[in-house]
């Protein structure tokens, strides 16, 4: 099984690497770059929501903090981008540490809304402070090189994927996190410190999001509290991860690709019909959940699992199905 995965991963990566060489259509590269960004955001959100069972409705706050860190370091203290970008991840991680300690004590909907309130509070702080430029936002020196941003975004998201894949699927961390999600007090008796592990998962989810925020700032050249600290980042990352399938790596990836490319295709090619694309996208998302309550990936793997079982002639009772790979029921 593993050998085929690596081959598949290598071939996809190689296609993506040669893409900018065979085309210099800037809009096409920009769309794929933004798709990468959303894949990264959806995966980062799923690390906390799917694997650890904590729904972060303020996920966008790390994106905004990353964006503002890079912008402030570059514009106010003349850092160069190669230093300002990692700094975005570091600051996001630090904020995750301090915000995580009190907030991770909460559970379920309360954690979700507390993180939402936190992200709204940070947005108001950005609106009021001088250093962030308040509502006027901040402009960064425009460096509009589609290939550079394509490669850098691909690099960051691939590194994030590999990091998550290693930590969540191969190393011990993934299992510990799932144990915490399944039964926190039971896990304590086995030597797992829930608070430490949850904070680690929170930071692991925040750092890539912060770096992607820093990338966004330099790429779009303008940020303001409404765009980088608004609800768009959180809402879309949540919908993509859940639509794709929680608690897996490939769920958010597929969810991000499908939803983003659908939205962009409708937006670009139904442009003459004003907001018709919003109606279609909303309808599609709603219908998809009605017909696939387990998310795209959950249904897919459920289907593949069931077919494999039939081929092997085993009488598979749904309960006993091998569920390690699939999205799991997250407990509140």
């Amino acid at each position: 099984m593993r050998h085929r995965n690596i081959l598949w991963f290598a071939s996809v990566l190689s296609i993506l690497l040669i893409l900018p060489l065979i085309t210099d259509d800037a809009f096409f590269l920009r769309i794929i770059t933004e798709a990468f960004m959303w894949i990264g955001l959806a995966m980062a959100w799923d690390v906390l929501a799917g694997y650890t069972g904590y729904l972060n409705f303020g996920h966008g706050v790390f994106f905004g903090i990353g964006a503002y860190t890079t912008a402030i370091l570059m514009m106010r203290s003349e850092w160069s981008f190669p230093f300002a970008l990692p700094a975005a991840g570091v600051v996001a991680g630090i904020v995750a540490l301090f915000a995580g300690l009190p907030t991770l004590r909460l559970k379920g909907a309360y954690f979700a809304i507390a993180t939402w309130a936190l992200s709204r509070a940070v947005q108001q702080v950005a609106l009021v402070l001088e250093i962030t430029g308040g509502p006027d936002g901040m402009r960064l020196p425009p460096f509009l090189n589609p290939k550079f941003f394509y490669m850098l975004m691909l690099g960051i998201v691939t590194a994030t994927f590999l990091l998550f894949w290693f930590l969540m699927e191969r190393a011990s961390f993934g299992l510990k996190v799932r144990a915490i999600r399944e039964d926190e007090s039971g896990a304590m008796a086995l030597g797992l410190n829930p608070t430490k592990i949850k904070i680690q998962a929170f930071i692991l989810s925040a750092v890539p999001t912060g770096i992607l925020g820093g990338m966004y700032a330099y790429w779009i050249t303008f940020i303001d509290p409404a765009s980088v600290l608004g609800d768009l980042v959180t809402d879309q990352a949540v919908v993509m991860a859940v639509f794709g399938g929680l608690g897996t790596l490939f769920g958010p990836i597929i969810g991000a690709i499908l939803i983003f490319l659908f939205k962009t295709y409708f937006w670009a090619y139904l442009a003459d019909y004003q907001v018709l694309y919003l109606i279609i996208l909303g309808l599609l998302i709603a219908l998809s959940v009605v017909f696939m309550p387990n998310g795209l990936w959950g249904t897919l793997t459920g289907y593949i699992g069931a077919r494999q079982a039939l081929r092997k002639g085993l009488a598979v009772n749904p309960q006993a199905e091998n569920e390690t790979e699939k999205g799991d029921k997250t407990h509140e």
Binding site: S11, P135, G137, R139, P142, V275
Partner: protein, 412 residues
């Protein structure tokens, strides 16, 4: 490996279309980037209407007359969704995929600030028909122009008109919503008031969309002569309703932007009466022109027929953006598709442009704080008088006297 070959094939097909040679055509491709959804949908749609009216009227007359041939215009729309990143994507799509000749730009400063660098890269001229934030012009974008002067240029006029009332207002409370445009508006009002010796008792920036009734209850205690508010359409309506509900009538109520919008009068009815606003155009401006619409009233009628709603200066400014391109193209006699040299010449032509339109005099500043903004037009003070937007200042342009002080809500 079979899958990879297929995947590569699909990708190359997808990317093949820009390689097609650019064939000659007899129409100009015009990109339109406005926010049709998201928080700024109202302003974005009004701007789009202005561009549509220009394009439809122009095409109805056969198009732009260049040398012996008439070239129509075809609009290519993109919804910026009130998100700077979507604006940048829209700009790149229109520049590389549709290969537009020039762009009619967004309503919000944030989207404009994200779109402008992309168009600078592709050297595509853009005129925004409705962006009023001073931020844009301070960045000195070479390829970006604006037909509506920024609010730090227009904001002073209403305060100057009010200062001439007798008895002139001596105290004021000025507030603005916490977004780039509204904050700039409130600051413009404040600077003008202080220059004219009006004592500003309270100056606050409030969260946008906030229910201001408690704030107004506190203002009611201060009893200032003038209350001035910078915000967007809905916030203005809510503020008047708050004042109405706590039964507090200041001597003068000045607000911007939204007073000139039909929704303001339609929603508030007689409560909209005697509210002051800032504007640069109304249907009763005396301006003569030989381009598309002979005068303001003709444009007003055409807009009312097209959209069943009276036009305001944002829509007029957007149509004028089209006129500016039309005039500049005729001057440099460039035919579609515009080459880079054509577009360079188009910028030069726009900078030298000085024309009379139904909207008023159009002249773009060539340097300074208002670089590439229209400084030819004269800022006006308007007031709602029996359901219509009436110019009450400055004196030479006034069509009626300003009604001051405000008649208390109860006696209307």
């Amino acid at each position: 490996m079979k899958h990879c070959l297929i995947a590569v094939l699909i990708f190359t097909l997808f990317t093949a279309n820009p390689l097609l040679a650019e064939e000659a055509r007899d129409f100009f491709k015009v990109g339109v980037i406005t926010s049709l959804s998201g928080d700024l949908a109202t302003g974005g749609n009004v701007t789009k209407r202005g561009y549509d009216l220009w394009a439809n009227t122009l095409n109805a007359q056969g198009g732009i007359q260049i040398k012996d041939k008439k070239y129509t215009v075809k609009l290519f729309y993109a919804d910026a969704q009130s998100e700077p990143s979507q604006g940048a994507s829209a700009a790149e799509r229109l520049a590389t995929q549709e290969k537009v000749d020039f762009v009619l730009g967004p309503y919000s400063s944030g989207v404009t600030l994200a779109v402008a660098p992309v168009l600078e890269k592709y050297k595509i001229p853009m005129i925004t028909g409705s962006a009023e934030s001073p931020l844009i012009w301070k960045q000195k974008f070479f390829y970006t122009f604006g037909t509506v002067p920024p609010v730090n240029y227009t904001g002073a006029t209403p305060i100057q008109t009010l200062a001439k009332m007798n008895p002139a207002p001596k105290t004021a409370v000025i507030l603005g919503s916490n977004d780039a445009f509204s904050k700039a508006t409130a600051e413009a009002f404040k600077d003008a008031a202080e220059k004219l010796g009006i004592k500003v008792l309270k100056f606050n920036i409030v969260p946008s969309g906030q229910d201001l009734t408690p704030f107004m209850s506190a203002v009611k205690v201060l009893q200032p002569d003038l209350v001035a508010f910078g915000g967007h359409d809905e916030e203005l309506i809510n503020l008047v309703k708050s004042l109405r509900q706590i039964n507090y009538t200041p001597k003068a109520l000045l607000m911007h932007y939204g007073v000139t919008e039909p929704a303001f009068i339609e929603s508030l009815g007689k409560d909209a009466e005697q509210v002051f606003g800032a504007s640069v155009w109304t249907t009763s401006v005396h301006a003569k022109s030989d381009m598309l619409w002979p005068d303001a009233a003709a444009y007003g009628k055409a807009a009312e027929e097209a959209f069943k709603v009276p036009a305001d200066y944002t829509q007029a400014g957007s149509s004028t953006a089209g006129l500016a391109f039309q005039a500049a193209l005729q001057k440099i006699e460039a035919v579609p598709p515009l080459s880079e040299a054509n577009r360079e010449a188009l910028i030069k032509a726009l900078e030298e442009l000085e024309i009379q339109t139904f909207y008023g005099k159009l002249k773009f500043a060539k340097e300074g704080e208002y670089y590439h903004a229209n400084v030819g037009i004269t800022p006006l003070t308007i007031q709602i008088q029996n359901g219509k937007v009436v110019i009450v200042g400055p004196e030479k342009d006034a069509e009626a006297a300003a009604q001051y002080p405000l008649k208390p809500w109860g006696q209307r």
